[in-house]
Homo-oligomer: 148 residues x 2
């Protein structure tokens, strides 16, 4: 595996591990859970900065995993919109953000990285958080089928 010393996504899992294939892992990003509990990342295991540096078959595998997480979010959480992003300015190790968004959330319709638009709706955030165990079982099962 290609690793870069000092890279937080080479040195650690980067969040709560939900599932993995031999090439990538799905994690729940815990650092913003009070505002965005349904915030997942598909992290490529090898240290690769840019998506276009992956061979096409690996890109397809990566996006199949991103889509699988998006589909699970849509099925379990009925988001108003799903946000996908591979930025990597701070941590240039390929990872896709997959985030369930709602008109009531603190930032909607702005991206989660913009300024908040309103207070956090604590009860709605809690309801989402309650749905995560079933969601994550679905992600885990679907990723296992993808890896087969």
């Amino acid at each position: 595996m290609t690793r870069l010393a000092g890279c937080p996504l080479c040195d650690g899992v980067g969040g709560v591990l939900v599932a993995r294939t031999p090439k990538l892992r799905v994690i729940r990003a815990g650092e913003d859970a009070t505002r965005f509990p349904a915030f997942y990342r598909v992290v490529w295991d090898d240290h690769v900065p840019e998506f276009s540096q992956l061979p096409r078959a690996d890109r397809q595998h990566c996006m199949d995993a991103v889509v699988l997480v998006e589909e699970a979010l849509r099925q379990h959480l009925r988001p108003h919109k799903v946000n996908l992003a591979a930025l990597g300015n701070a941590v240039p190790h390929l990872h896709w953000h997959v985030i369930a968004r709602y008109p009531w959330d603190s930032h909607f319709p702005a991206p989660v990285w913009a300024a908040p638009q309103r207070d956090v709706a604590v009860d709605r955030v809690r309801a989402l958080a309650d749905a995560l165990p079933a969601l994550e079982r679905s992600i885990s099962e679907a990723l296992r089928r993808l890896a087969d």
Copy 2:
């Protein structure tokens, strides 16, 4: 073609048209050109909100186009990082942002949607803008090969 009345990406091109295939188009997003001249979008022609709603072959075609734009940015502009995102909170019609980022840009390392970190480096922005015609010829040629 699936169109939604009132959707700005169904009613118009959405920017400066760079190239197209029978299913998608690449546009330059002009609205933030004084800060991010190398800001492109791959817009799916049909009105589809979520990436996971596309069939797998269409998703692959879409990401092949995104990658082709990313590769052209890397080759012509040597960005420090490329940012990819499909958000669609404001305009829920599938479009991928593909943005060249640099440590000197007004927002780096924050996403372009976050608060600025510093003043715009006018000379560097102008140098990037000067490189866009050659870049866009490359994108156009590569997209034509993809569509063949």
